[in-house]
Symmetry: C2
Subunit: 220 residues, 2 copies
DNA sequence: CGCTAAATAGTACGTGTGTACTAAATTAGT
DNA sequence: ACTAATTTAGTACACACGTACTATTTAGCG
């Protein structure tokens, strides 16, 4: 029978402690990776005792869940803010989204946090579900722009084009992110992305997307 | 004073054991992630004792190093084979590379191994160096094609376009890989990528790449 | 004030970890 | 067939881990 604890952080003191905990956990995740993330280290980083940490997060999994939620919320808040200031013109809107996301990759937190999340999602159901939700939300404004730029595409095709654009930008993380070899070229990469995505979104046809090709590759 | 052991796997028996070890380690890395990878689990998976495992890999880091080398060699071997059967026509060559890489993402091993590698590279110097080398080699044939498709670009610009194409494809891993939500659309994603990259490689200009844009985003 | 609940610290237990070490078994060469 | 090198198994240790549990301190409220 599990010992039930509250620790919902109702008082201001509690909320502050939770922030200390989440920041400590995030720092460790980013600086040392998930394999080095432990309850004891988090407690030390938050300058509280292990017992107190357990008061708020009875299990490590509870902490991880909240850590992922919290970290992703920070990104989504910024992203939503960008959306509110959006232009009606689909080209300008798309340009601003691309610029925002690609340049955000240079943020040290983003550079290391997201690869950890992707790796986690391969083995943790919650991380996997969270990823789906986050990127689905990122794709919404992309789909809006694409639909306007290329009305001939079906809904499913618009979704796939948006998925391509979104995943394409994520892939740059490991190369142009903070501390990475090509970090100096991040603006030029954003330029290439913008030019490439805009032209593609405008010119791609249903036939381009749907045609079947012989593979010749072996799936193990 | 460290106990010095050989375990270089000189005899056939030794080489077989090393393969058992590497396969076991790889399976655990892929199925459970790096945080769950332990010497004991590897030994059990390889059906040998911990002592024997230590004979070949005195430290866990030694094992990780060899595991990364071995896993990446498997991919590079396939990639080199593709290169040898390459067409002279830059468009066809580029098409075949894109199709190979994107469809390879559907391979369960690739889907989970690479995100682990990317996360590792953020905290492990060896993984980081290895990644640089691998992707540099992948970019070489891409650069060849781009140079032919668009001779007006400078060497640096060709490199950046190749980097964009390569990283763009890697980004699809988390979305169209094995077991992922969009896995069914992997061929269509390959089509979009092919169409998009080819048009971009042909039409992009130096000005597109180099122009400066106001950012307005904050880098923490 | 006093009292109740929230918050914090401290301790302890069982388990898993990396790795050092020793000894037995197997293999290969002369 | 003997011998030396290689390979294998087994044991042990110190430490870090997640977590359960208890006791103490602090804060809010009548």
């Amino acid at each position: 029978m599990r010992n039930i604890r509250k620790g919902t952080g109702e008082s201001r003191r509690g909320k502050e402690t939770i922030l200390l905990i989440l920041n400590s956990a995030k720092t460790i995740l980013i600086e040392q990776g998930y394999s080095k993330l432990s309850m004891r280290k988090v407690a030390v980083g938050a300058q509280i005792s292990v017992g107190n940490l357990q008061y708020y997060y009875p299990s490590k999994n509870d902490l991880l869940k909240d850590l992922l939620d919290h970290s992703i919320d920070e990104f989504m808040d910024e992203f939503e803010r960008l959306r509110l200031g959006a232009n009606n013109d689909p080209e300008l809107h798309l340009r601003s989204i691309i610029n925002f996301i690609v340049l955000d990759l240079g943020n040290p937190t983003t550079t290391t946090f997201y690869p950890e999340l992707w790796a986690l999602a391969n083995h943790d159901e919650y991380a996997d579900k969270l990823m789906d939700e986050v990127y689905a939300r990122v794709r919404i404004p992309l789909e809006d722009c694409i639909k306007q730029l290329n009305p001939a595409l079906s809904v499913e095709q618009v979704q796939k084009v948006a998925l391509f654009i979104s995943s394409s930008m994520e892939g740059m993380t490991m190369f142009v992110g903070h501390g990475k070899v090509w970090n100096d070229s991040i603006q030029q990469m954003a330029n290439i992305a913008t030019m490439s995505f805009l032209a593609m979104a405008r010119n791609i046809t249903s036939e381009d997307i749907e045609k079947e090709i012989q593979t010749g590759s072996s799936h193990n």
